[in-house]
Amino acid sequence: MANLGPAYYAPYPVATYDGLLTPPEGKAMLLTDIVDEEVAMREVARVMLTSDNATIFPGPQVLYAWSEEAKKKATLIKEMSEVLNAKMIPMYDYRPKYPKIDPEVEINPNHPNLTIWHNNIKAAIFIGVHCHYANVALKIVRSETDCYTIGMCALSGHEDAMATIRDQHAEDLARFIEIAKEVKQELGK
């Protein structure tokens, strides 16, 4: 098993147990701190650019072309992966898989730790995953791995992620990409 996460292997692997709630509108959360969105975006970009096997996990809400917003986001996420030098592993549905998933090609919310362990992922962005499954997956990852999780959420964020940026729509992703480019240049990556 990989190293344990910040909440350790506790019977309460949930951030709310530590008094954490999702950030208020216009703000983001880094570990336990509420910060400005831009500060969080810079930190997220830095973590993704400096961690081993950084990966983006796109979920069904962006993988499938069900709305104009989803189509725009798909283009931006592809660009984001290139800027962050990140791999992409899809969470294309939530069905349990028998006998087990192939962790090389997918991540499943019922056992997301398998993909993270197998690929030795140290930082990951969850984007386009429906709230309830993001919550389940982030709790498991939090308690079972040492992966720095980032919840890029179109709604109110996820307190179980190490970093969460809320209300992320297409224009916000475009802004994040610009910030990530700057950070990349600063880091000389």
């Binding site: 993988l63 072309a65 069900w66 992409m88």
Partner: protein, 286 residues
């Protein structure tokens, strides 16, 4: 909701597994005509499942899934039982209800969909075992018929509570002995297909899953009638081969035997439904 929810954004095609690409490219979403013949060369809506080898229920579910006229606009409501092991693997919307509640849940979903999408056909199909339909959920099932809810109810009758060790159900035939019913059942099998007629179903059919085309035809008819007129009911024999001591290859034989015995064909079609089916045939929908 539209069929677009199954279209992969081109930016992600290179990272999607072949199974999902195949589902987008070769499934029968949005096809005018779907049917049993699609099982041979189209991507199935159910490929893997965790039921026992040779289980007739798994075959029956495949026939049903190929017969659903608009899978992209269909919601399946299921209940606890062997069938609930398969539903997480189906590539369309399913809702798992509490044991026995399935027809109440389906009624709510249908009403909400009718209100939300007044110009679209949204089909709600209940798939539950005999325990959920005939015993624990009998009240909810019959009440949905009384209320003339526009849903299709399909009962997978294996005549036993199979995955809890073999207890008798209301649908078990008189005298049948199971592991957890050693004295044999003392009263007759509940004639659910007849109760469905008495309770106001527009269409009630009893059959086995021995003939795929017959199952598919009945399912299609039932869904079309439910859309326009009111509740429809299908009572489908899918024996539990383990509980009655058969091998994986003997399920079909058992169903064929029962075609001549307990499951000799029963079909009730209300006069309005009869007229409606004629119209559907004329329009080429059946």
């Amino acid at each position: 909701m539209s069929v677009d929810i199954y279209k992969i954004n081109p930016e992600f095609r290179d990272i999607m597994p072949k199974d999902i690409l195949d589902l987008e490219d070769n499934a029968t979403w949005g096809a005018e005509k779907r049917g049993i013949s699609d099982l041979t060369d189209k991507k199935e809506l159910l490929e893997e499942h965790s039921l026992c080898a040779g289980c007739p229920e798994a075959a029956a579910l495949r026939y049903i899934l190929t017969a659903i006229p608009k899978p992209e606009d269909t919601i399946i409501v299921n209940s606890t039982g062997c069938t609930s092991l398969m539903f997480p693997h189906i590539a369309l919307h399913t809702v798992h209800s509490l044991f026995g509640n399935q027809n109440a849940v389906a009624s709510g979903i249908k009403r909400a969909l009718t209100w939300r999408f007044p110009d679209k056909d949204k089909d709600v199909v209940v798939l539950a075992g005999d325990g959920a339909t005939v015993d624990i959920g009998l009240d909810y099932t019959l009440q949905s018929f009384f209320r003339q809810e526009k849903i299709t109810t399909i009962c997978f009758d294996n005549e036993v509570y199979a995955n809890t060790g073999g207890q008798e159900s209301g649908s078990t035939p008189k005298g049948q002995v199971f592991k957890m019913a050693p004295k044999g059942k003392v009263f007759d099998k509940v004639p659910m297909w007849e109760l469905a007629v008495t309770s106001g179903c527009q269409y009630s059919v009893k059959l086995t899953a021995s003939a795929p085309k017959a199952v598919a035809r009945v399912v299609r008819e039932a869904i079309f009638i439910a859309r326009e007129l009111g509740p429809t009911y299908i009572h489908l024999y899918t024996p539990c081969i383990l509980e009655i001591g058969l091998s994986a290859s003997e399920g079909l034989w058992e169903m064929k035997e029962q075609d001549k015995d307990r499951f000799v064909s029963f079909k009730y079609v209300s006069p309005e439904a009869e007229e409606f089916l004629k119209q559907c045939k004329k329009e080429g929908r059946l």
